[in-house]
């Protein structure tokens, strides 16, 4: 079996096709699913194959998400299309008070095997109500797993894992990545939830990122090489459960870390990661854990302002610089793995 290049949207459609063939309880519910293969082409070919299992609904997000919860409780595996991640706001009770709590609150009696799929992100001049990255809200709600991949191969493997998982999974996918292509093997595979991936091995600093910012970080790493800095880039892929093991391994080696995400800075997932690293790996750190994120404003429409708000490669370079200058001397780091040989 070979490898071919697939876009993120086709990788997603393929994952859904494979899973729906194997499990009749999977169905897709949301707006505008069938007429044009989904608004991002992410459902291409599916309605022809499974005409009864793609449900085009009225514009009623509260009920779309609530219906997913109810169907999951009664033997189905719903895949809920949120249309735009920004619209989770219109079903926040269903997500936060129902989906996330029902299993726990009823003493573990119920399982909710559902996926809430939410295309997010800015950079397309879609302005304040269609550009957000809202993963922090979801992560701050115990009971929800959170996935935010970057590469097509990861999209495919993680969509499959999310569908097979018996808990609610909120799956974010960046709008600017739908046409992003990459190699995907023809052979069937699943990528387990909770496993991060090293996208570029390096020894000088750990860059923790996810979703589209992985791309910016990979680009930034080239400029860093020219400055003599060999960065290790970790695509977290799953934010909950978090692969802290891999993070710790990397930080122990590099002794420096930054977090890069597109969501705005304050209260973002970077704050959580910085705190975790600080608490658990303090003795290995030679510099502060720095966050690179969007500025704390709603997304402005005009491209000049939007570019300024979103983190760019120079912001990542500045973040690395801030993390690496004013190093604590080696002598303060008793357990540090010396890789400077």
């Amino acid at each position: 079996m070979g490898v071919r290049d697939l876009s993120c949207s086709l990788a997603m459609a393929e994952a859904l096709m494979e899973e729906m063939e194997q499990d009749e309880t999977i169905f897709i519910i949301g707006e505008d699913l069938t007429a044009q293969g989904g608004i991002f082409g992410q459902f291409r070919g599916l309605s022809k194959k499974f005409p009864d299992r793609l449900i085009d609904t009225p514009i009623s997000e509260t009920s779309i998400v609530g219906a997913g919860v109810g169907a999951a409780l009664t033997g189905m595996r719903p895949f809920i299309d949120m249309h735009f991640a920004d619209f989770v706001t219109t079903a926040m009770d269903e997500i936060v008070n129902q989906m996330a709590k029902i299993r726990y609150m009823f003493g573990g009696q119920a399982t909710l095997p559902l996926v809430l799929w939410a295309p997010d992100g800015g950079g397309i001049s879609a302005a304040a109500q269609h550009s957000q990255c809202l993963e922090s809200w979801i992560i701050h709600t115990p009971g929800l797993k959170v996935v935010a991949p970057y590469e097509p191969a990861d999209v495919k493997g993680l969509i499959k894992a999310a569908i097979r998982d018996d808990d609610p999974v909120v799956f974010f996918q960046h709008k600017r990545l739908f046409n992003w292509t990459g190699p995907v093997t023809e052979e069937e595979y699943v990528i387990p939830l909770g496993k991060a991936a090293i996208k570029r091995p390096g020894k000088d600093i750990t860059i923790l990122t996810y979703s589209r910012m992985t791309y910016e970080c990979m680009e930034a790493s080239r400029a860093l090489v020219q400055n003599g800095i060999d960065a290790e880039i970790i695509d977290l892929r799953t934010l909950c459960p978090l692969d802290f093991e891999l993070i710790a391994q990397s930080v122990k080696k590099t002794q420096h870390a930054i977090v890069v995400h597109e969501a705005c800075l304050t209260g973002g997932f970077g704050a959580e990661l910085a705190a975790r690293i600080n608490e658990d790996l303090f003795e290995y750190l030679r510099g502060p854990v720095v966050r690179v994120a969007a500025k704390d404003v709603p997304m402005p429409f005009s491209p000049v302002m939007e570019k300024y708000v979103l983190p760019q490669i120079p912001d990542i370079l500045a973040g690395v610089d801030k993390a690496m200058k004013n190093k604590r001397p080696d002598t303060n780091i008793p357990h540090a793995v010396n890789n400077q040989t």
Binding site: T34, D56, S63, S125, P300, V304
Partner: protein, 322 residues
């Protein structure tokens, strides 16, 4: 209803203004001068113009993602709208909003909302405000057939009915919500029908006939203004363009669009009537189009010539007292 000759001419002029604005916007979008999403109202002019013609300057409207027409009909200036669509600093929202989010609060335009159904509850608040301030203003909330399926619609209509709020709910039923036909998605046969459940009047109008729209909406506005509560008016209309510019429109046929254009175009119909009635000559109608085109070209040029914002302007206007 008796409508003066001057009023008729002004209705035609407004519809032409919207058509020309939208066609210019379409062209500019395809020249890649307008970033982001653009949703056009071509074909729906009578619904919007007839509705806004029943309002006073101090009345409020709330608009939608497909908002240019509402905003123009309520009196906004095209040059600042174009500037906003280009993301320029002279735009209504200083380039922060774009095509989907234009507002002119000085004219009672409380903003175009990108969240479908986002406007209903906000207008409920304007309704309470009008009552508490003891004015006789009216609030008009525009929405599509698709938006009538949001819970916010039902909550707001009920709340408005319970408190007899001075609100007119104007549904522009253009038969489609993105790729979904209204026929399939709106239970109960029509949006106006839903009014009965809340004990308020609901009317369906021929939304391609500007005078019929005005007549129905005028009645609803008077009802609201005199403290008798809300009304739903559903204007049956049609969008000629894709849901957004760039929409492949695989879900419908060109024949369907052409048919409507040929037989029910709101501007063609009204022009013909005005010429037949002797209100305007063919030459006068042609002059309206020509003048409007020049006016719109100048407005667009103003926007093009305007400066871009500074990147750091992104940090302004978040709080009143930072």
């Amino acid at each position: 209803m008796k409508i003066s000759t001057d009023k008729k001419i002004s209705l035609l002029k407004k519809m032409v203004l919207i058509r020309v604005f939208e066609e210019k916007t379409e062209a500019l979008y395809h020249q890649e001068l307008i970033p982001g999403f653009v949703h056009l109202s071509i074909g729906q002019e009578a619904s919007t113009v007839g509705s806004c013609a029943a309002l006073r300057p101090d009345d409020y409207i709330i608009s939608t993602h497909r908002g240019h027409a509402h905003i123009l009909a309520k009196g906004a200036e095209p040059k600042y709208m174009f500037a906003e669509c280009f993301g320029k600093t002279t735009g209504y929202c200083k380039g922060k909003g774009g095509s989907m989010h234009i507002a002119d609060f000085s004219k009672g335009i409380l903003g175009a909302n990108g969240v479908v159904g986002g406007g209903f509850p906000i207008m409920t608040g304007a309704g309470f405000s009008i009552k508490l301030r003891n004015t006789d203003q009216v609030g008009m909330v525009f929405f599509g057939d698709g938006a009538s399926n949001r819970g916010t619609f039902h909550e707001a209509v009920n709340m408005a009915a319970v408190f007899k709020l001075p609100i007119v709910f104007v549904c522009e039923n253009n038969q489609w919500a993105s790729t979904s036909p209204a026929e399939k998605m709106v239970a109960g046969g029509s949006v106006a029908n839903r009014a009965h459940a809340y004990g308020i009047p609901g009317f369906i109008t021929d939304g391609s006939n500007v005078l019929k729209v005005l007549e129905a909406v005028q009645e609803a506005v008077e009802r609201a203004r005199s403290g008798r509560g809300p009304t739903i008016v559903e204007n049956e209309t049609f969008r000629y363009k894709g849901h957004f510019e760039g929409d492949r429109q695989k879900y419908r046929t060109q024949d369907e669009i052409q048919h409507y254009r040929m037989h029910r175009d709101p501007i063609d119909r009204f022009q013909t009537v005005l010429i037949e009635e002797g209100v305007l000559t063919k030459k006068a109608v042609a002059a309206i189009w020509a003048e409007t085109k020049t006016f719109i070209d100048e407005a667009a040029q103003y926007g093009l010539d305007s400066p871009l914002p500074k990147p750091e302007d992104a940090l302004k206007d978040l709080f009143t007292n930072p």
